[in-house]
């Protein structure tokens, strides 16, 4: 935290009141730097606490650096900051934390997945034992079609450390037991959420700056193999959905219509099913014909048309291909 405060200004004050004690810490950064030991000294400590409705912590930064106060004058900076806060603290805010910027409350889009009678998102909870156990909740399913919003969202103690991740970190392009393709536009509806919670923040799979995932941590590696397992059925379904566009079945409800009819539901309120479920469809047979397209100079096409004594260019293509195939490819 002190690193963050140093970046903002030259003076800060921390006042913390709990029901059992309270303290005030005032830091003049220039003076503090002159201290060879870099100690922080409390200005007051009181063993007498406050009533619980008065408890809380106030951090105030003054003597802002010029670039910081300038940023706060820019409307667009305030918008971007708000958007950033909403993304990072989405989970905590979804659970009741209220945040505002310059007195304007921040709104969030809560994490949601599509659900209907036929379509169910997957939900799995894992607990990794230890002195302070790590609780991992994983969800996979469908959201609105958006290539930029698709991917995995990873939270550690309520704070977003990955948003819309589409890289190998969250299993895309992975090949370990399950093979998951790389992100592609046909997966624009994929959404995955992973929530890691632990009383000991040191066990959580985040980087020291708490702004990314530590992909090598044991906790994350265990979670990741489950994440990949939970992804597979969603990816299969999205592939099926994509194939359906090329060859829509005549006698069945379209998967697309079914997905469009499903309602977004907050993930906390989803039916808890351990596997993504969608109505089965018979495998669509890929057509066994192909079309070939190419361009040639008009003069040559006209000449070929004349020699072949046909009237359409389609016919020219067809006849020249057959001619080539007969002479070069047939084995008689």
């Amino acid at each position: 935290m002190k690193r963050g405060l140093f970046k903002l200004g030259n003076y800060f004050e921390v006042r913390s009141d709990t029901t059992s004690d309270r303290f005030v810490l005032k830091v003049d950064v220039q003076q503090w730097r002159a201290d060879p030991d870099w100690h922080f000294r409390f200005d007051s400590i009181d063993r007498q606490g406050v009533e619980s409705d008065e408890a809380g912590t106030m951090i105030e930064v003054r003597e802002l650096h010029p670039s910081v106060s300038r940023d706060f004058e820019r409307q667009q900076f305030l918008n971007d900051l708000t958007e950033r806060i909403a993304a990072v603290h989405q989970d905590s805010m979804d659970r009741g934390l209220v945040l505002s910027v310059n007195g304007v409350p921040i709104n969030i889009d809560p994490a949601q997945l599509l659900e209907s009678d036929e379509l169910k998102a997957a939900c799995e909870e894992i607990v990794l034992d230890g002195t302070s156990p790590v609780d991992i909740k994983l969800y996979t399913g469908l959201g609105t079609s958006s290539p930029t919003a698709a991917g995995w969202y990873v939270f550690c103690n309520g704070r977003a450390v990955l948003e819309a991740d589409q890289t190998i970190v969250t299993g895309w392009g992975a090949d370990e037991g399950e093979t998951i393709p790389r992100m592609h536009n046909q997966f624009a509806r994929f959404r995955g959420y992973a929530f890691f919670t632990c009383d000991d923040a040191g066990r959580l799979p985040w980087t020291t700056t708490k702004t990314g995932v530590d992909a090598n941590s044991d906790v994350f590696r265990q979670a990741r193999s489950r994440m990949v397992k939970l992804m597979r059925p969603v990816i299969d379904f999205l592939n099926q959905l994509d194939r359906e566009k090329d060859a829509p079945p005549a006698d069945m409800e379209l998967l697309e219509d079914m997905v469009n009819a499903a309602q977004p539901k907050r993930i906390g309120e989803l039916a808890t099913i351990s596997r993504f479920t969608a109505p089965p469809r018979p495998k669509v047979r890929l057509p066994d014909t192909q079309s070939i397209q190419f361009r040639v100079e008009k003069e040559r096409a006209d000449k070929a048309k004349k020699v072949l004594k046909v009237s359409t260019l389609g016919e020219v293509g067809r006849r020249t291909f057959d001619y080539f195939y007969k002479l070069e490819c047939e084995e008689t």
Partner: protein
């Protein structure tokens, strides 16, 4: 195409408030002499086929490096035919395209005189200038600031401006009257400063560029229009900008509060009657009890810039 080019709908020469604005702006430009010789400036604008700003600026200030940006590719020949002076070069293309291919070692007066409301592409044009024009240059932007249809004003502007929409504006009513024009000024001011923040990042303070607004006009020949603009300057030019005395001109504004240009409708005979009593200390000194007081007061403020339209058999 959604509508015909605006020059086919309106003859810009016949809009009295716009006319007054143009002349006021030229008077302000004339004061830039302490910053740099006016003749050394380049003027960049949208000439359309009438080129009123180009004619006025060349005639009054002698600026003879002029660039007119024209987006209607089909009317290139017409624009070239109508160009009033040889020194105007016509650059065909969208403003953003042309602005990014111009050389920016030339101190410039750039007037992006749009007739549509502000949106992200226009802001990108403004930022293209703010991020390239050298110290001493002027950026001026005119946009339609009409609030439009009563319902959905906030929603419309949010869509048009995205994350550039001013922070914390949540009230539809705030956009009524001149509210939309005020909002656009805030966005333009914010975005010009953001472009400069980026440009200044890592530069020694002597090289950093600052922006000082001195135009903030509201006028209404039909729809509500906004013109906002100012000067870019570095530390070495700061005192010269101060020496221009731009703040002494009654119509300049360096803040959110705008100067409203009101052009009273007067007959030529009325104009001559008023002119004979001008200049004078205050509108109350003028005797013209047959005219509404407001019109006399407006004329008192604008008479040196007031246009005289007549039907000429040329």
């Amino acid at each position: 195409m959604a509508s015909s080019p605006s020059f086919e709908r309106i003859n810009y020469g016949l809009r009295p408030a716009k006319h007054i604005e143009r002349k006021m702006m030229v008077e302000a430009f004339r004061r830039l002499e302490p910053v740099a010789s006016l003749k050394s400036y380049r003027y960049v604008g949208f000439g359309s086929p009438y080129f009123p700003d180009f004619s006025l600026i060349h005639r009054s200030l002698g600026i003879s490096t002029m660039v007119s940006i024209e987006r209607e590719l089909s009317s290139e020949r017409r624009m070239c035919f109508n160009r009033p002076f040889k020194c105007i070069s016509i650059e065909m293309g969208e403003a953003g395209e042309v602005l990014s291919r111009l050389e920016w070692n030339h101190r410039s007066i750039v007037w992006l005189d749009y007739d549509k409301p502000l949106d992200i592409p226009k802001i990108a044009d403004v930022k293209a200038v703010a991020s390239s024009a050298p110290s001493g240059s002027l950026i001026i932007v005119s946009v339609n600031g009409d609030p439009g249809q009563l319902s959905g004003r906030l929603e419309r502007q949010r869509n048009a401006l995205g994350s550039m929409f001013p922070f914390g504006v949540v009230d539809d009513d705030a956009l009524g009257g001149w509210g939309t024009a005020l909002l656009f000024r805030r966005v333009l001011d914010d975005q010009i400063r953001l472009a400069l923040d980026d440009r200044n990042a890592g530069l020694a303070s002597a090289l950093q560029l600052h922006y000082k607004q001195f135009f903030n006009f509201h006028y209404q020949d039909g729809v509500r229009m906004l013109t906002v603009g100012g000067i870019l300057f570095d530390e070495s030019a700061r005192s010269h900008v101060g020496a221009c005395g731009l703040d002494d001109l009654g119509f300049t504004r360096d803040s959110e509060e705008a100067y409203l240009i009101k052009a009273p409708n007067l007959t030529l005979r009325e104009v001559r009657h008023l002119d004979r009593q001008l200049p004078c200390g205050s509108p109350g000194d003028i005797s013209a009890d047959f005219l509404p007081e407001g019109d006399v007061a407006s004329y008192f403020e604008t008479y040196r810039y007031y246009p005289h339209f007549a039907d000429v058999d040329a």
